[in-house]
């Protein structure tokens, strides 16, 4: 079984607690997301699971193998795409691929079916040095190199950071195809909207795992009634909504503001009246289905209010 387990994993760098008591149970064949901003501890978890770093305490297992004792075996069955481009810049595209296949005692030919869909997109540049590739092509080559030994578990550290929305979507389409091969995929991202593309997610912040569940379950457990507010001058609308005594929280969300009220009441006329008094005439207020991002931001606010 291609499952991954973490039990009370803790790791510090000097006085910085990078990962604090994180326990996760990732199922075989799952597309699992580690969602959180920079400094959440995502990379440290990847480095522990790929046996590049030892935890200070706790246990971690990849496909039943222990990261301390069985590190050699884990390296043979794990594919890892680090956040920073780490292929050989002065080797060509095909040389990099062949190199990684050889290191894992296999051949490109043997596992070509697994990478075919991705590799055809970079094949026209097979002779080009990796360092001369575009960002999107580097990313695809790195994924091919991480897959060429047909790993049982694939670790992807922020593969879509700094990538434009179109390429991000393409990348997630590729992931869902890899998943069909039965490979467990653990992927980290700071983009909250990518959470819904995962089977399950762990929300992380400052080394702590806040919550693990299906993305839909997490957003459904948002504890307040949520409203979408739109108006003409959105910035002053935001400031004025915050000045309303009944406001619990209000955040900008693209072309609307997401508002939660203290009492959770349904009657919005008071607020409309209040805003009219401050010069907002054409304000619309509608109920709203919360997202993972709403949940993530609220987590902090609720904690501060307790």
């Amino acid at each position: 079984m291609n499952n991954v387990q973490l039990n009370h994993i803790t790791r510090s760098y000097g006085t910085i607690h990078a990962v604090r008591d994180v326990s996760l149970d990732i199922r075989s064949g799952e597309l699992f997301g580690l969602i959180g901003p920079d400094g959440a501890g995502k990379t440290t978890l990847f480095r522990i699971l790929t046996t590049l770093l030892l935890p200070d305490s706790g246990e971690a297992k990849v496909c039943g193998l222990d990261v301390r004792k069985d590190w050699k075996e884990i390296r043979g069955i794990a594919g890892y795409m680090p956040g920073r481009f780490s292929l050989y810049q002065d080797l060509s595209v095909e040389e990099n691929l062949r190199f990684f296949a050889t290191v894992f005692k296999t051949t490109v030919k043997e596992n070509y079916d697994l990478i075919h869909d991705i590799y055809v997109q970079i094949e026209p540049f097979a002779k080009r040095r990796a360092g001369k590739l575009s960002g999107g092509m580097k990313q695809k080559l790195a994924l091919c190199c991480a897959l060429i030994h047909r790993p049982r578990v694939l670790f992807l550290d922020e593969p879509t950071t700094g990538v434009d929305p179109v390429s991000r979507k393409e990348f997630w389409d590729i992931l869902s195809r890899i998943k069909k091969q039965g490979i467990t995929i653990i992927v980290s991202t700071p983009y909250m909207d990518e959470a819904s593309l995962c089977d399950r997610i762990a929300l992380m912040k400052n080394g702590v795992c806040l919550r693990t569940d299906h993305p839909a379950t997490i957003s459904a457990s948002y504890p307040h009634l949520l409203w979408a507010v739109c108006g003409a001058d959105m910035y002053s609308l935001l400031l004025d909504i915050r000045a309303y005594p009944e406001t619990y929280s209000c955040h900008a969300f693209g072309d609307r503001h997401h508002l939660a009220l203290k009492s959770g009441k349904h009657e919005m006329n008071d607020l409309k009246h209040f805003l009219q008094g401050r010069g907002h005439s054409n304000v619309t207020i509608e109920p709203l289905v919360p997202s993972v991002e709403d949940y993530f931001m609220n987590f902090e606010e609720d904690k501060l209010c307790m």
Binding site: P37, G39, T161, V163, D164, P165, V166, P190, A252, G254
Partner: protein, 244 residues
């Protein structure tokens, strides 16, 4: 009053046309979103607007100065920050403010006043003597923005300023942007977060070196008959032929 005027701005590297005859104006105090797929030519265009690279052809004026002949004046009247380069991590918070303010020629009195004001605005008075490297990314970025406008430039260029920043801090960062724009500082910003495109007064979308669309977010959504900026971006950028 235009702070940026670009007319048929073009940049070629050999036989590759990175920026292909783009024309646009940006007004004083406007928040201008400069979007595009990776490799569309945004960075090249931005480097030219900052006076770091000369265009192959076209007319460009930034803050009223000619980009060919008055490069040094351009640099004095703009601010710049990106996720990759912002502050010196091994200097303290106050030292960074002093360094950048000093480079832009602020007097001792101005430096002291600016330092107090920035630390007050960011609620960072107790971090005055902290090394920048010890701050969380979100704080660093807010400080970097304040430092980038320490000399009250006409315009500030922000290159993916919020990448990797947590959702709450990302929004606080945008409030700083709004405040600066209200003071009349023009904001020229690139981002891959499409919800942030909604916060801009106008948005341009580059595809393969050209500006394929330029309008308010509302108009763009109307034109493309879609619900959000993500879909606007998608309708345009998926046609892109070239990578980065």
């Amino acid at each position: 009053m235009y702070v940026i005027e670009a007319e048929k701005l073009t940049k070629r590297f050999g036989n590759f046309t990175a920026v292909d005859q783009i024309s646009f104006e940006v007004s004083e105090g406007e928040i201008f979103g400069f979007l595009g797929a990776n490799g569309a030519g945004k960075t090249t265009a931005m480097r030219i607007l900052c006076g770091l690279s000369k265009p192959t052809s076209g007319k460009v004026r930034v803050a009223g100065f000619d980009i060919y002949k008055q490069t040094e004046q351009v640099k004095q009247h703009i601010g710049y920050m990106s996720q990759k380069f912002s502050l010196y991590g091994d200097l303290k918070v106050w030292e960074n403010i002093r360094l950048f303010g000093g480079i832009y020629g602020l007097s001792e009195v101005q430096l002291k006043e600016k330092t107090d004001r920035i630390l007050g605005l960011l609620d960072m008075e107790d971090k005055r003597d902290a090394l920048v490297d010890s701050l969380p990314l979100g704080w660093k970025q807010k400080l970097a923005f304040s430092v980038a406008i320490v000399h009250e430039p006409r315009i500030v260029f922000l290159d993916e300023p919020t990448g990797g920043v947590d959702p709450v801090t990302r929004r606080q960062f945008w409030e700083l942007i709004y405040q600066a724009a209200r003071r009349g500082i023009t904001i020229f910003v690139t981002t891959h977060y499409m919800d942030e495109a909604e916060y801009c007064d106008r948005v341009s979308i580059m595809v393969d070196g050209r500006i394929e669309a330029l309008d308010t977010p509302l108009e763009l959504k109307r034109k493309f008959c879609v619900e959000n900026m993500n879909d606007v971006f998608y309708s345009l950028a998926r046609k892109a032929q070239r990578g980065e």
